[in-house]
Symmetry: C2
Subunit: 371 residues, 2 copies
């Protein structure tokens, strides 16, 4: 049995409970969904169908890639359907003998005009497009990593930690002088460590640019780790799964900059002390915002987020009123308090946490590095 089967079984069971006869997943430009990879191994553009009688049909854009990577009962090139999703759904429903009147569930990111198109073409079926159906179930399942995934994360964390050490060493020695030096070192070392690459575009922002949450451009030829606050936010992607850490380098800080760094470190400690099994993620985010509010500061982004095949997964670790996530064993998420000042620069400290039966385990070793 491969690692995909137990994941599929959970969804087949859910489909049976909910009387959903056909479930459709789509990974396409503008509508990326790594669930296709999570359930089949196919890393690129494709449609995936799950049927109530426990069959999987993959409709990839690149059939050669699917032959090399994917596990599915049937694989049919998308070109057979002119790469039109409604044609593919119609044909697959017929091929699998889905009875008229059945429920077909499509992704909740389906644009409204495309939804109308499906409803117009698939008149024999009951088309479901909802946040709280299949997609919510997938989010829930993917938010708790299985043993295979945790194994990958331990390795990815080792590679990340070695890289953090090297980044600190090379910055201290003066080998890293520019944002580009830092970003390119990460690109090279990630692959040397056996990763597919970086998990997202590395963000290297020297003192002049660190005021931005996500500096634009992500990295340039300008100086890094000179006097002030410099931010380095990166992840390595191993077998599809990305880590996500942020270091801040502090050099010759003025009192404002020291205050930002101190507050962020305090917030990181506070949030970690609260992250335990059964804790509502929202409460942790609120506590950090309260801490900052006391110092008359405001964090312009969420405290954290789950990580996995996507850079942002569940659980959400934000204080949004609709955030109902409760931490539980198997969840892997970031905690990343940050403060940004247009004049004095920004500071963020981000680590990846694995929740275990016995509490939080900090997988990564990101830190605020005082030069």
């Amino acid at each position: 049995m491969n690692q995909y089967q137990p994941r599929l079984e959970k969804l087949f069971d859910w489909m049976a409970r909910e009387s959903v006869t056909l479930a459709v997943f789509e990974d396409a430009g503008g509508r990326r969904d790594q669930t296709v990879r999570y359930l089949t191994g196919q890393p690129g553009d494709a449609l995936l169908f799950l049927s109530l009688d426990r069959k999987t049909v993959l409709v990839p854009w690149d059939i050669n890639m699917a032959k090399a990577y994917a596990h599915a009962d049937m694989i049919i090139p998308y070109s057979e359907f002119e790469r039109l999703p409604h044609k593919a759904i119609t044909a697959v429903a017929e091929m699998l003998g889905i009875p008229a009147g059945s429920k077909i569930e499509i992704p909740p990111v389906t644009p409204y005009p495309l939804f109308l198109n499906y409803v117009g073409e698939l008149t024999d079926f009951d088309i479901l497009c909802r946040e709280r159906g299949l997609a919510a179930e997938v989010k829930k399942i993917r938010a708790v990593k299985d043993d295979e995934e945790i194994k990958i994360y331990r390795k990815a964390a080792d590679i990340t930690n070695a890289l953090i050490g090297l980044l600190e060493k090379n910055t201290r020695s003066g080998k890293i002088k520019t944002e580009a030096d830092a970003a390119l070192l990460i690109e090279v070392e990630a692959r040397r460590g056996g990763c597919e690459g970086t998990g997202f575009e590395t963000l290297a922002a020297g003192p002049e640019r660190s005021f931005g949450i996500h500096a634009y451009p992500a990295w340039t030829d300008s100086p890094f780790a000179g006097p002030g606050l410099s931010i380095l936010d990166f992840g390595v992607r191993l077998a599809g799964y990305t880590t996500d850490v942020t270091l801040t380098f502090v050099r010759e800080a003025n009192s404002r900059q020291e205050k930002l760094a101190g507050l962020v470190e305090k917030a990181a400690k506070l949030s970690l002390s609260m992250a335990d099994n059964g804790a509502p993620a929202r409460g942790i985010a609120s506590a950090v915002e309260d801490l900052f509010a006391k110092a008359k500061k405001r964090m312009p982004h969420a405290l954290g987020h789950g990580i996995g095949l996507e850079e942002h997964e569940y659980p959400a670790v934000s204080k949004r009123p609709d955030n109902e996530w409760i931490l539980e064993p198997g969840m892997i998420f970031t905690l990343e308090p940050g403060l940004y000042d247009p004049l004095h620069g920004g500071c963020r400290l981000e680590n990846d946490i694995l929740m275990t039966e016995t509490g939080p385990e900090v997988l990564t070793e990101a830190r605020i590095i005082r030069l």
Copy 2:
């Protein structure tokens, strides 16, 4: 007057003709839309509102970035609306005094559940979400580049061409040995040339991996430009605009590989000879597919696509039945015939074409390089 005003005027005129009182654009994770940057200069996450009385309101996620980059009549941080789009729309509609019963147009990529949410919250207004409304107008406007954009593209093409020369030289000299060598050279040289970076993830696929349209991972430590076919697909991003070229390196080709390369070169010539003002893009794509069909080959992707702030813009250059794009002056698009064989590897030749009053101008100098 900045470069954004004439673009906005076109849309304000369209809104007046169509009686749309408020237009909403969204650039967000999972729903990227560079139209926000096109109309304001803001490079990151934000909502943008255009009102019939010719006002613009920008609601950015990162207010510091907006202060540094964006032009808009009003700028309000997204956090004021708890980063909830329906709250922002409600508040901005009230602030601008949009009368009850007005038409508010939202992006056609709005997911169906979010659309229901808007309709439920904005009960005073007529919510439009359609492919053939505002979004189609924006596509049409953005498909034809203005003088400012063409100036950027000429510079970006120069940088790209210098890079192509360097890539050929360093491959011939043996300095580039691996996919990583090629990809990292591009990262460094793009920035040295004044670009923001690469326009998309560079795809460097040596002979073992070039069979994939988009090899996965995009580049690795494995050999590049050894015996067989190697593909290098990249672009540089200058002031937001990306080029998009593909080189194929051929070394010690067998007869199958020579045949693929010869056919692709023939297709590139054919498509360029047909690309003229007034030509339907679909016809060019069909002619290339016919050429390949005669040789019993099939191209698994479209012949080309517009480029701009996004890697894929309009005009479409595909043979899809719904492709009605006609080439006209100011359009900038790729032509990229390619053929892929699971055993013998892939070959693609992609250049960027600017349509001028007097016909096509090939901006870039990508080629099939025989080593």
